[in-house]
Structures are given as C-alpha cells and as structure tokens.
Assembly symmetry: C2
Homo-oligomer: 113 residues x 2
C-alpha cells in the first residue's frame, strides 16, 4: 500500500535536495565520474559522496568502479513510482471534480423544472 511504501519515501527524500537534483540533471545527459559531478557543485568530495549515497539508496543512480574512477549513471525508470503516485492522486481529485460537476448540473436541471 502506497501509505507505507518506504521506497516512495526514499525517492521523494532523494529529490528534495537541490544538489541531488542538479546531479540528476547532470547525469540525464550521460554517465559521469564522481569528480566531474562534484566540480560544478562547489562542494567537498565527501559531501558529494553522501548525496550520491542517498541517490543510490533511492535507486535513482547506479555506480561502478573502474580502477580509481567511480562512474555514476542515472536510472530514470526509478522515478516512475513517484510519477505513478502523483498520477493516482490527480485521478482521484479529478473524479471528485467530475462528481461535483454532475451534482451542480443536476441541481440546475431540477431548478429549471
């Protein structure tokens, strides 16, 4: 049940930080080394590594090591549960508006009789 979905909480938490969103935007155009991701943030490497851990824990990125270089790649499909959750909320909300519309239309018809 979405109410207790821990993955959804991890996902939204990962997206709730501007540095982590900037890292994801960077990775959307292609995989990058940790040092290349750190440079535009102006943050120290350990801080960037902590942000990368949060993104990896949420499943939003995957990392691999080749010699001394750690490369990060985006996993865009990981964002889908967040989108699905928002779509469901929107559908429930719109169904409610449709019912309200129908109620008002009926009330107006009754008044015209």
């Amino acid at each position: 049940m979405a109410k207790h979905d821990p993955d959804l909480s991890l996902l939204f938490h990962a997206l709730a930080d501007p540095t982590r969103r900037a890292i994801l935007s960077h990775l959307a155009v292609g995989p990058a080394a940790v040092s290349d991701l750190a440079e535009p943030t102006g943050l120290r490497l350990p801080t960037v590594m902590r942000h990368l851990s949060v993104l990896e824990e949420a499943g939003l990125i995957a990392t691999s090591k080749n010699g001394r270089v750690r490369t990060c790649a985006i996993r865009p499909e990981a964002m889908e549960p967040a989108r699905t959750w928002m779509d469901r909320q929107k559908a429930i909300w719109e169904a409610r508006l449709d019912r309200l519309d129908a109620f008002v239309m009926n009330a107006m018809k009754e008044q015209d009789k």
Copy 2:
C-alpha cells in the same frame, strides 16, 4: 533555475513521508477536519498538526478555521512543479537515448558499405 528552486525542495520533502502522503490521499476525495485526518493515522494531534504545517508550507494544502473546527483542503495544482521537473528530466534522458540510437544506426550503415 530548478537547481536552486526552494519550492521544489519543500514539495518533494513534504511528499517524502508516508503519513503526509496518506493525508493527501484522504484529502483528494474531499476537504476534512483536522480531527478526521488524525484519526486513521493513530498519531497524536500535535504530531498530525506538524505534518499539516509541512504540507501547508509546501502549498499542498490550505486550511481554514470555522469556529473551533479547522478544515483542510488539497491544492492539487501545487504538485505540478514536481511533475514538470520529472518530465523535463525524462525528456533530456530520452533525447540522449535518441542520439545514441542515431549513432548506432549510422555506425551500422557505415559497416554495411
């Protein structure tokens, strides 16, 4: 610029908690009094009030007081910036995949010559 968008951070932070998501799902079907929202959560009222403050600060709900009853209503349009941000990431990612496809197709054509 999305990188430093504080509203987007507030929004994703508000959605990163299962109780807050449950409250939004409850409100999607219609406005509700704070006490009605608190009941299914099993949480104490001050805790629920703190969750409602986070949702209100993110613009996801609006509250109004009528006598001693505080009523909450969802503001579904407030979720749009989050959806827009995710759509943009997806578009960048898909453009990259299209370029990769084109590159592979060209390479195969060159090989066939």
